[in-house]
Symmetry: C2
Subunit: 251 residues, 2 copies
DNA sequence: TCCGGGTTTTGGACTATACCAACCAGGCGA
DNA sequence: TCGCCTGGTTGGTATAGTCCAAAACCCGGA
């Protein structure tokens, strides 16, 4: 809503809106909408755009940040700006695992284990698993990709008591199926919390993105028929990578 | 993850991190976490922070944007930066309306009707309501507040055929109860879609926020027992104003 | 006490410039 | 052929200004 009018320069490339950086944004957005730029395509470099529009580089970047916030484009550090692919549709009430989910939408999933260690329960985890402080737990961290692009990182915590020697398995596949096949643990109920957030620190680094990028934090607690916590999973998604859809009865 | 080291100046205020704007961020974040700055409090002006830290104003703003993206602070245009209040917890599967929901969490809700008009169904709406293109519909736009802060704007669409003369009512209260009391329409099933987005254009203006602020789009389609669409509601939330929580059975 | 109008403050937009580090591609040598 | 080095390209960080419009504030008059 802030408006600073200024003699709008006529620019080779056709920006001529109220705010320069919004003109910039509209120009690129139109090229994406028109199919001229397709998902995965790389935009011209900031300096090229600058030369084409005669704007300051800071203004160019302002427009690019806008598009990034809208999920239309994303950046690869010091490589360039790229058009975002379409998001994965996510229904937390009918979640059957990342891999089958992504494949069902005609996309190519991949899972990359980052590390797996034994840790001691802190206050939060002790509460979740209903175990004493310091109880042994497994922490598995993974990065997951869609069509080769990293879209989320996750921290999975599993109770050592329920799945001893879990770390001898490889985690590039479905963890849920390992728990089921090897330990007879099957999930019958989920609790899911989601919150828009900013990706910072470790998560931002793991997704190779700038700290501060908007994201979605999804916390899933999975229970078996006995009410035991089988899996406690914290996922950090790129905000442009998913769309949530829930169907629910009232009350 | 990008790191540019630079002779870190020793600064009255105690920033001395790798990246200046992250130092800035950490400084403020610590003051919020420590309770020195409480929800609703106003931060010192950018120029004051600049004087205190001897950084360029752009760098100060970079740090503030970071905090904004994290939902820790928000801005009121040309008024200042403020510490964000805690978010509303939202369970789409047990939604009983904004007012009771917010009150149950000890907060003060308010609803402000913006406009209400009769429109003709476009392709999207025709599909939703299963009516021909151009069919008459009511469009109601409202802004909703928590503790005096605007947190969402919504576009509600209702079929004229189901609720004739709806516009003679006032929309500063629950619409669902009007539909029930006056037209005998009660909602038995909801479909909800959510997607992280950027607030732009009309939504950004209505929330008096800068275009590009991260937000969450919630689309709710409400059906009655006969499967008719009673209400089609598109909500645009500030990203820092809510947290989603869903409980769900598997499969 | 309330209202209106000027002044000050505040964030918003924009320019211009500089330097840095990660990335990438191309060439050279083993 | 493979791997290393190197230099150009790209985005990331930071500085130092300028001008603008909306808010906020203050003061004087009704």
């Amino acid at each position: 809503m802030p408006r600073t009018q200024r003699p709008t320069v006529d620019i080779p490339g056709g920006l001529a809106e109220g705010l320069q950086y919004l003109g910039m944004r509209n120009h690129i957005a139109a090229r994406i909408a028109g199919g001229e730029l397709k998902p995965g395509d790389r935009l011209p470099s900031e300096r090229l755009l600058q030369a084409a529009t005669r704007l300051a580089r800071g203004t160019i970047r302002e427009g690019l940040f806008q598009l990034e916030a809208e999920g239309l484009i994303y950046r690869r550090d010091r490589s360039g700006w790229y058009v975002s692919p379409s998001p994965i549709v996510y229904d937390p009430t009918r979640w059957e695992g990342f891999i089958s989910y992504v494949e069902a939408q005609g996309r190519r999933p991949a899972t990359e284990p980052l590390d797996a260690t034994e840790i001691a329960a802190d206050a939060l985890l002790a509460g979740v698993f209903d175990r004493p402080l310091g109880a042994p737990l497994y922490l598995i961290r993974r990065r997951r990709h869609v069509d080769g692009r990293a879209v989320l990182v996750e921290h999975i915590v599993v109770d050592v008591a329920l799945a001893p020697d879990l770390l001898k398995f490889s985690f590039d596949q479905s963890l849920t199926s390992i728990l089921k096949a090897q330990y007879g643990l099957s999930v019958t109920r989920n609790k899911i919390e989601m919150q828009p957030c900013a990706l910072t620190g470790w998560e931002a680094e793991a997704l190779r993105t700038k700290s501060g990028l908007p994201g979605l934090k999804v916390v899933r607690t999975s229970y078996d028929a006995l009410g035991r916590v089988v899996e406690f999973d914290r996922e950090y998604w790129r905000h442009d990578a998913l769309k949530i859809s829930v169907e629910a009865r009232v009350r």
